[in-house]
Symmetry: C2
Subunit: 184 residues, 2 copies
Amino acid sequence: MEFYAAIRTRQSVRSYKPDPIPQDALQRILEAFQSAPSWANCQPWELILVSDPALKAGLQACLPENNPARRAMLEAPVLAVAVGIEGKSGFYKGQASTARGDWMLFDLGIAAEHLCLAAAAEGLGTVHCALFDFAKANGVLGVPAGRSVVEIIPMGYPAKETRRVPRKDLKEFAFKDRHGAGYL
Amino acid sequence: MEFYAAIRTRQSVRSYKPDPIPQDALQRILEAFQSAPSWANCQPWELILVSDPALKAGLQACLPENNPARRAMLEAPVLAVAVGIEGKSGFYKGQASTARGDWMLFDLGIAAEHLCLAAAAEGLGTVHCALFDFAKANGVLGVPAGRSVVEIIPMGYPAKETRRVPRKDLKEFAFKDRHGAGYL
């Protein structure tokens, strides 16, 4: 798929067909995740692909009732669970390199989006889900200390067409040279 | 460009030609940034495109001597400066929704990478740069309180071919169903 078509096609999908994901597509998606850039190439991530129904139910139980992705946790054939490794990204010799400390969340955002865009390029839907109890999810999947689940990304063929969600106009947030100076 | 070709083409570029970026390419890149997903579509970002030489020098002065992107701050025709809006992403009615509090860094990672991938699709190079003094950069660009520069991304035509940096093997970090369980 053409690059910008993948960008446009990627929308948040919360309703899935049960059809499995072809192995070759999954491999390409994993390689897209793998190729993500990170702070000093530290790659502070792991990825757990969950298809076991009991574990999917266990992860669903980590979501609050008001999370609109609850049903997707059981419907999607695969839950791609992104795990962050703490204390690597943004550190040098054990010391934080900037005022923001751990840069892991930024790197995980990049890698998770590589996965979601690659899935879109394969005709698959995804949704970024981070509204859940991280500690409880770590328990469900056996994630050890020093690491944490940061996102659960349902992945599968969309059950229906997904509407495009509007965005802010460029002129509201894109500036030339100084904050607030008009760009467009 | 084909989606996976853009993923492969995007490498960290730290040496740039002075050639300007065509306006139509810049527009497509901005729209790719704009279309990034974010927590509850809160879009906690702004983008400042810096081409003024004095401001570029001011931003360069925010980088420590050991940042390998120092020269790129002057060489690249445009510095795309990603600004995060604090206290929006991951919050509901002023309360943090998860144990991680502000989710802005994750969302900014996604949006910044949309920009870098789109630039790659246009034949342009970029590099994620976050090793600098954020407060000082805010002063240079007049970024008001409640917002902060989080990345400076030089953007322009690469001056030379960039080598691909190796990544961890998939079997080191991709697991099936439970943490540590072999996937491949």
